[in-house]
Amino acid sequence: MVSSSSPVVNVYPLANYTFGTKEPKMEKDTSVADRLARMKVNYMKEGMRTSVEAILLVQEHNHPHILLLQIGNTFCKLPGGRLKPGENEIEGLKRKLCSKLAVNSPSFPPNWQVGDCVAVWWRPNFETVMYPYCPPHITKPKECKKLFIVHLSEREYFAVPRNLKLLAVPLFELYDNVQRYGPVISTIPQQLSRFQFNMVSS
C-alpha cells in the first residue's frame, strides 16, 4: 500500500555513472590516535566539531546501494568532512563533495542536490564511540556529525582521488554489519527505510 506520507527518491542504475580519477587526497591523520589528538587541538581552538556526510544512492538489481570511499584495504567512509567554523551545513557538504568526488573544472560546476538530514551522531568524549543522541549529562559534546541524503541526477561524472576507491555497497550488506562498517554506516538502511525508492532502470 503506497502512502502519501513516504517521500520518493529516484535511484538510477550504477551503470549511468562514470568514474574517473584525479590527484590523490591523502588523509590528514595516519592513525586513530593521531586523529583524536588533532580533534582535541581543534576543539580547543574552535569548539565542537560539526561534520557533514553524504548518502549517495544508486541501484543494482533493483536494490539500493550507497557510494562509499575506501581507504587502503578495509576502512570505508562516506564522502564528507568537517565544517569550517561558522560554515553553513549545506554549503559545507557541497564543498566536501566537490573536493572528494567532482572534476576540478571551472566550466562544469557540479550541481549537488542536498536533501533531508537523515541522522545525527554525537561524540561525547575524545574517543571513537558515537551515539545517535546526546547522552544524558553530556553538556559539551566534542563532535556532531550529520548525514544528508544527496539526490543524484540521472547521469553524473565523478572524479575520485587516485588513492581512494569508490564502492557501491548494497543496503543488505550494510544492515547489522557493525564489525565491517561501524555503527554510523551500518544503521543507514534503517534511517533510509521511510523513503520509497523509485528504481529507475536503464
Partner: protein
C-alpha cells in the same frame, strides 16, 4: 555527456529540515488501568494458531500492514520511549494491524486508542480520541511471517508478507493513558534501547537511530 544536470525537484524544502519535537516531562501524564480488551488474548493464542491466522489473512487480503506509534516523554533530561510490556517479557510499541482498505493515520489512531485509552477496538469512535500523528520515521518488511524483519524490501521476486510502519506521535502537554490490565506501560530511556536488540528486538532497538535527526525541545514549567 557533460555535467549538465536538470534541476531536480527533490531538493528538500527548508521546512523539511526543521526536525523539532516538543516533549513533556513524564510527570505531566497520568496512568491508569482497565480490564483487558475483548478478542483473542495474546497469551492464549498458540504460535501455530497465529501462523494459520496470518496465512489466511494474507490469502484473503494481501500484504499485512501494521502501524505503530513512537511516543516520547522526558525524564532525567533524556528522552524516554513509551513501551507496552506483555507478561513481563515481550515489549511492544502501541499499534497493530490495519483493516483491509483502512487508511494509515485512521488505523493508527484507532489502535492507539484501543491500547492506551478507554475506547474498545470494536466500538465506533464517534468522539475520536485526539492523537497527533506525525511523520513516518521508518518501515520494516518481512518476506515470511516468521522471518525477521528488514529495513528494506525483500528481493523483487518475492512479494513481502508484512510491512511495519513506525510513526512519530506528538503528545499534548498532558493526557491520561489507560492501559489494559494484562499489559504494563513503561517509559524506557533511549540510551537503554539503543543497540539492545537482544532485549527489545531489531525494530524497537533501532528507534534511537530513527529519532536521531530530531532535536527534542523539552517543555517543562
Amino acid at each position: 555527456m557533460g555535467l549538465e544536470m536538470e534541476v531536480m525537484s527533490e531538493a528538500a524544502p527548508a521546512a523539511a529540515r526543521e526536525h523539532g519535537l516538543d516533549i513533556y516531562p513524564l510527570t505531566r501524564y497520568y496512568f491508569g488501568a482497565r480490564d483487558a480488551a475483548a478478542g483473542v488474548p495474546r497469551g492464549l493464542e498458540t504460535a501455530a494458531d497465529r501462523a494459520l491466522r496470518l496465512k489466511a489473512n494474507f490469502a484473503a487480503h494481501g500484504l499485512r500492514t501494521s502501524v505503530h506509534g513512537v511516543l516520547l516523554v522526558e525524564l532525567f533530561d533524556h528522552p524516554h520511549l513509551l513501551l507496552l510490556q506483555v507478561r513481563n517479557s515481550s515489549f511492544l510499541l502501541p499499534g497493530g494491524r490495519l483493516r483491509p482498505g483502512e487508511e494509515e493515520v485512521q488505523g493508527l489512531k484507532r489502535k492507539l486508542s484501543s491500547k492506551l485509552s478507554f475506547v474498545d477496538d470494536d466500538q465506533a469512535i464517534e468522539e475520536e480520541d485526539d492523537w497527533q500523528i506525525g511523520e513516518c520515521i521508518g518501515m520494516w518488511w518481512r518476506s515470511e511471517f516468521e522471518a525477521i524483519p528488514f529495513p528494506y524490501m525483500p528481493p523483487s521476486f518475492r512479494a513481502p508478507k508484512e510491512c511495519i510502519k513506525l510513526f512519530l506521535i506528538r503528545l499534548p502537554m498532558s493526557r491520561q493513558f489507560i492501559v489494559p490490565r494484562n499489559m504494563k506501560l513503561l517509559a524506557v530511556p533511549l540510551s537503554q534501547i539503543h543497540g539492545n536488540a537482544q532485549v527489545y528486538g531489531p525494530i524497537i532497538s533501532g528507534i534511537p537511530n530513527l529519532l536521531s535527526k530530531f532535536s527534542f525541545n523539552v517543555i517543562s514549567d
